[in-house]
Structures are given as C-alpha cells and as structure tokens.
C-alpha cells in the first residue's frame, strides 16, 4: 500500500450520498428491530395467554402512546423489509450501477414512506 494515500475515516466530515443513507438506515433499523424483539414477544405472549390478557392488550392498544410505539416498530420493520428486498434484487444483478444504486435507494425511501403512512392510517 502507498503510505501517502489520504485516509479519511472521520465519518462526520464525509457527505453521505443517498445510497449510503439508505445503507446506514437499513443497519440502524436492523438494530432497532433487535431491541424491539422483547416487546413483540411480550405482545404475542399477552395475546395468547388468556381471554383476559388479550382484552387487556387490546385496551392498551387504544392508548395514543402505545399506538405510536407500535407504529414506530412497524415503520422500522417496513423500511428494513423494503431495503432488504432491494438487496435481493441487487443480488440478481439488477440496479448495480452507480445510477441504478441511486435510483434504488430513492425508491426504497419513497416506497417505505408510503407503506409507513398506510400502516399508520391502519393503526389509527
């Protein structure tokens, strides 16, 4: 390696292109889903344990704050899903050029935003 090559690993000084933002958002949402797993398992537990716990959970779901949390979890799931589908499409060789990558990243943001709004409408 040529030692004189400039090295810049200070991420805060780098302007992120749309593809990088799509990529890091995929990672961040992935970590967020991991953190949400116990909430989802707890909800599954409450929904199946007894008719009473099911009713309690349903009652809890009427609270705006709880709705916001559920919406947030579904939002990160939907983004991760859409960005993941783009990965699978790119694995087949589609959208691998620089322009294709940019277009795909923008599409992921647009499609997931629409889905997140739709699922928000369903929750409320």
């Amino acid at each position: 390696m040529n030692d004189k090559r400039p090295v810049n690993l200070d991420l805060s000084t780098i302007k992120f292109p749309v593809t990088a933002i799509a990529s890091i958002t995929h990672r961040v949402t992935g970590v967020a889903i991991f953190l949400a797993l116990p909430i989802l398992l707890w909800m599954l537990d409450r929904s199946l344990a007894s008719p009473e716990s099911f009713a309690d959970l349903k009652e809890l779901m009427t609270s705006p704050l709880v709705k916001l949390v559920v919406w947030a979890i579904l939002a990160v799931l939907l983004y991760h899903l859409v960005a993941g589908i783009r990965h699978l499409i790119m694995d087949t060789g589609v959208g691998e050029t620089l322009e294709g990558g940019r277009r795909g990243a923008k599409l992921v943001f647009i499609i997931s935003a629409v889905l997140i709004l739709l699922v928000g409408g369903w929750i409320w």
Binding site: L9, G30, L37, L44, D45, L48, F54, L81
Partner: protein, 123 residues
C-alpha cells in the same frame, strides 16, 4: 487464513446464504401476517388463538423464530465486527466485541426459546 469463530456459518458465503434464506422467510411471514391482521378487522381472542394454534401457523411461527434468530445473529455480527474494533476501543476491542457478541447471542437464544414456548403452548 483465520476462520472467524463467532460467525454463524464459519464463513462469509454461508452467512450470506443464511441471511438471504432467513430474510425471505421473515419477509413472506411479515407480509402475510400484516395482510391477515388488516383483512380480519376486529379480531377476537377465540379466532386469534385458533388461528395461531393451527398446525400451519405453528410451523410458520417456528420457522419465523428460527429465521429471526439466525438473521439477527448474522446482521449484528456484521455490525459488531464493523464498529467494535481497535479503531474505537484500542486494545480492549477484542474483549468489548466478545462481551457484546456473547450478550447478543444469549438474548437471541432466550427469545428463540420464549418464542417456541409461546408457539407450542407451554404457557
């Protein structure tokens, strides 16, 4: 070449495949479950319990929790090996990364077992 001892498939190509197969299982499940919940409307306990207790859903749910555990492990392994390095933690990096990875692995095993108990009706 050193084989990474903490990666799920012990090599990158195998992890790559696990990541994609599990992704498809989770994706199909998520779309199907959201579709079911949206189309069913006002769900009551009896039909939800019967639906989740059907052999079909017990198998789908089992596939789901196994896929989530594997997918999350491959994903978070990538995240921990990218960010918990000597660049950020110096000499302590290996220890920090190993502790984080063991904690994540334990959490995933607990979630997997919890999920299986819920699916197969132990509780």
């Amino acid at each position: 070449m050193v084989t990474p001892v903490t990666s799920l498939g012990r090599n990158g190509l195998y992890d790559w495949l696990i990541q994609r197969v599990s992704a498809v299982i989770i994706g199909v499940y998520l779309i199907g479950m959201l579709g079911y919940l949206m189309c069913t409307g006002d769900l009551d306990y009896g039909s939800w319990k019967a639906f989740m207790g059907s052999v079909c859903m017990q198998i789908a749910n089992t596939l789901l929790v196994i896929a989530v555990a594997a997918h999350t492990w491959v994903g978070l392994w990538g995240v921990t090996t990218d960010y918990l390095t000597s660049l950020t933690f110096g000499k302590a990096a290996t220890g920090v990364r190993l502790i984080a990875q063991v904690a994540i692995a334990l959490a995933l095993v607990v979630y997997l077992l919890w999920g299986l108990v819920l699916i197969w009706g132990g509780a």
